[in-house]
C-alpha cells in the first residue's frame, strides 16, 4: 500500500480558508499543536471549528484571528485556566460566532457523522438553555451549509410516547487532525490512553490528517489489532512530529509543560501579551523544531519525558513555579 507520509507544512497547507475542521485531544492532552502553529503561520482565515472540550489549540487559533465560527461545549485548560482567554475575549467582544452544546451532545454529533446517520437521540439537555436557546439565528443557519439547519430537535419516541429524547444533528467536517503516539506509513493508528472523541472526529471528516510521535512498522501495530480503532483507509495523511502536542501531554510520551502553559495564560490575558507570545513562539519560528528550541530545547523537553512506569512525569513540578 502506498505511503501516506507527507511533511507537516505540506499537510497544513491542504486546509483552505473557510474550511470546517475538528482537532483531536481533550483540554490538556494530545492536541495537534504543531499543526495548529502551522495553520497560524499560513495565516488561515474563517475556519469553522467543531469540538467538545478543546483547550489552547483553539484558543491560540482564535487569538490569531483564524476562526470565524465555533460549535463547542467548553474551551479551557481546566486547572491551568478555567476559560481560554482569547475565546473569552473574542466572545465578549463579538469577534466570533458560536453555538453552545454540551460535551455529550458534541460527541454524539461526531458519532452520528461517523456512523453515517443524520442524528443521534440523547436523554441529556432536556430542561436546559443549551436546548432552549441558540447562539445562531435561523437565518444565519440557513445561509451557511457548514452549520446544521436546526441546532437540536426534541421528540417523543414512537415506541413509547412517554419517552422524550433530543435529536442532535450529525457533524461532517472537511478535515480532522489528530495527534497520536504511533502510526504506520500506510495509516494504521495507535492511540494510547484515553481516546477522547478522536475516533469519531476522524470518521466524520472528509480528509483525516494524523500527526504522530513516531512512525512504526506495520507488523508492530497489526500484532494487536484490538488497539487500532480507526480503519486504515479512513486516514489520508500521516506526519511524523515528535513533541507535536507540546505544551500539552501525550500519554506514555511526555507530560504537559506547566511553565509554558503559565507563560501562555499570563500573556494571553492581554492583546499585546498575546501578540508577543505569538511572535516569540509561532510566527517568529519557522518549524516545530525551532519552536521546541524556543521553549527551552532538549533540556526542557527532557524534564517532561514520561516515566514509562506511569505514562507521565510523577515528579513534575506543577504549582508554585517561579521562572
Amino acid at each position: 500500500m502506498p505511503s501516506k507520509v507527507i511533511p507537516l507544512a505540506q499537510a497544513a497547507a491542504l486546509v483552505p480558508d473557510g474550511a470546517t475542521l475538528s482537532l483531536g485531544g481533550f483540554t490538556t492532552q494530545r492536541h495537534p499543536m504543531a499543526f495548529v502553529y502551522e495553520l497560524i503561520r499560513l495565516r488561515r482565515r474563517n475556519l469553522y471549528l467543531f469540538g467538545h472540550s478543546p483547550g489552547g489549540d483553539w484558543d491560540i487559533l482564535i487569538g490569531a484571528g483564524c476562526v470565524k465560527r465555533v460549535e463547542l461545549a467548553y474551551e479551557a485548560d481546566e486547572a491551568f485556566a478555567t476559560i481560554g482567554p482569547r475565546w473569552r475575549l473574542a466572545a465578549e467582544r463579538g469577534q466570533i460566532e458560536w453555538e453552545d452544546y454540551s460535551n455529550f451532545s458534541m460527541v454524539a454529533r461526531f458519532t452520528a457523522g461517523a456512523m453515517g446517520i443524520p442524528f443521534m437521540p440523547l436523554r441529556s439537555l432536556l430542561g436546559s438553555d443549551v436546548l432552549a436557546r441558540g447562539g445562531l439565528s435561523a437565518e444565519a443557519r440557513a445561509a451557511d451549509p457548514r452549520t446544521s439547519a436546526l441546532k437540536l430537535f426534541e421528540m417523543q419516541s414512537p415506541f413509547d410516547p412517554r419517552d422524550r429524547v433530543v435529536l442532535v444533528p450529525a457533524i461532517h467536517t472537511d478535515f480532522a487532525i489528530l495527534h497520536v503516539q504511533k502510526a504506520t506509513a500506510n495509516g494504521i493508528v495507535r492511540i494510547e490512553g484515553q481516546t477522547f472523541a478522536d475516533v469519531q472526529q476522524a470518521l466524520c471528516a472528509e480528509t483525516v490528517i494524523v500527526t504522530c510521535e513516531e512512525i512504526v512498522a506495520e507488523e508492530s501495530l497489526r500484532s494487536e489489532p484490538e488497539r487500532n480503532l480507526i480503519p486504515m483507509f479512513a486516514v489520508h495523511y500521516v506526519c511524523p512530529v515528535p513533541w507535536g502536542a507540546h505544551p500539552y501531554a501525550v500519554f506514555n510520551c511526555y507530560d504537559y509543560d506547566p511553565r509554558q502553559l503559565k507563560r501562555y495564560h499570563g500573556c494571553a490575558e492581554s492583546d499585546a501579551g498575546f501578540q508577543t507570545y505569538l511572535d516569540q513562539y509561532v510566527l517568529g519560528v519557522k518549524t516545530h523544531v525551532e519552536y521546541l528550541n524556543a521553549i527551552g530545547g532538549a533540556e526542557r523537553l527532557e524534564s517532561l519525558a514520561a516515566d514509562p512506569a506511569y505514562g507521565y512525569r510523577p515528579d513534575l513540578q506543577r504549582r508554585r513555579l517561579d521562572e
Binding site: R123, G127, S128, Q194, F196, V199
Partner: protein
C-alpha cells in the same frame, strides 16, 4: 477558624457525600480531592470516572484535568467520552456527579455559560457546559460545589447550563428528565439541601465561624435556615490523608 482551611473543609464535606461502592463522576478540582479522599478513607470501593474516558482509576497523583494522563493510573477501562457518557452516564450507572458554576438558583439550576441576559452578547463569558449539563441531566444525584457570594446565588440565573430541579416540584420530571437532580450544595459558607416536595434549597449547615444568618444574608433568594446546624469539623485522620496522600503537592488544596 482553626487547624484546617476552607478548601480542606469543603473537600472533606464533599467526600462524605460519596458512599462505599458508588460510581462517582468527578470533575477537576475539589471533586477530585473529595473522590480521592473518599477512596482512601470510608469508600475504598468507590469507582472514580472521568468523562474523558477512564473508569475505576486508582489515582497516584491528582490530575489537573479530566483528560490528564494521571487519570490512567490503575484504570480498569480506558476509552473515550462516548463510552463514558452513553454506556455509563446515560445508561444510569453513575450514582453521584459533581457540578459547579458561576450562578446557582434556589432549585439548584446552574449557569456556567455567561453573565448577561442575552447569551449571544455576554457581559462575561465562561467556559460553557463541558459535561456539566449531561451530568446534571443523567447522574442519579449531583453534588454542587460553589463559592458562596450573594451575586452567585441570585433570584434568577441568566442561563440554565445544567438543569437542577427547574421550577421545583415535579417540573424536572415533566421536562422529560428520567432521573437525578441536585442533592446537596457545598459552598464556602455552608451546606444546602433541597426540600423533597417543593425542591427549594434550604440551609442544612453553616461552616464553623459563621452563623445561619450570615449564610442567608449572602444568598440572593430567601433561604430557610430553620434546621441549620454547624458543619462538622474534619476528622484529623481525614485531614492527614488529604494533606499527605491525596494532595501533597497542593495542586488544589489551599
Amino acid at each position: 477558624m482553626s487547624d484546617y482551611t476552607l478548601t480542606e473543609l469543603m473537600a472533606v464535606t464533599a467526600a462524605h457525600e460519596i458512599q462505599e461502592g458508588e460510581v462517582v463522576f468527578a470533575g477537576t478540582g475539589l471533586p477530585m480531592l473529595g473522590a480521592m479522599l473518599a477512596q482512601r478513607t470510608h469508600a475504598p470501593g468507590c469507582c472514580i470516572i472521568f468523562e474523558a474516558g477512564t473508569v475505576a482509576s486508582q489515582l497516584a497523583h491528582l490530575p489537573m484535568s479530566v483528560g490528564d494522563p494521571r487519570a490512567m493510573r490503575g484504570a480498569a477501562t480506558a476509552a473515550g467520552l462516548s463510552e463514558v457518557f452513553s454506556y455509563v452516564l446515560q445508561a444510569g450507572r453513575v450514582d453521584v456527579g459533581f457540578l459547579s458554576g458561576a450562578q446557582i438558583d434556589r432549585y439548584g439550576n446552574i449557569n456556567s455559560t455567561s453573565i448577561g441576559l442575552d447569551p449571544g452578547h455576554p457581559q462575561v463569558r465562561f467556559s460553557g457546559s463541558g459535561g456539566a449539563c449531561d451530568i446534571a441531566c443523567l447522574a442519579r444525584r449531583t453534588v454542587i460545589i460553589a463559592l458562596h457570594e450573594k451575586r452567585r446565588f441570585p433570584d434568577k440565573i441568566h442561563y440554565v447550563t445544567s438543569p437542577g430541579w427547574l421550577e421545583g416540584g415535579e417540573s424536572r420530571e415533566r421536562a422529560g428528565l428520567v432521573r437525578g437532580g441536585p442533592d446537596v450544595v457545598v459552598t464556602t459558607k455552608g451546606v444546602m439541601r433541597f426540600r423533597p416536595d417543593t425542591k427549594a434549597m434550604y440551609l442544612a449547615s453553616y461552616h464553623p465561624g459563621l452563623t445561619a444568618l450570615d449564610v442567608a444574608q449572602d444568598t440572593g433568594f430567601p433561604l430557610d435556615v430553620s434546621e441549620a446546624v454547624q458543619t462538622p469539623s474534619p476528622d484529623p485522620q481525614e485531614l492527614r490523608i488529604l494533606r499527605e496522600v491525596v494532595d501533597p503537592e497542593r495542586v488544589f488544596r489551599k
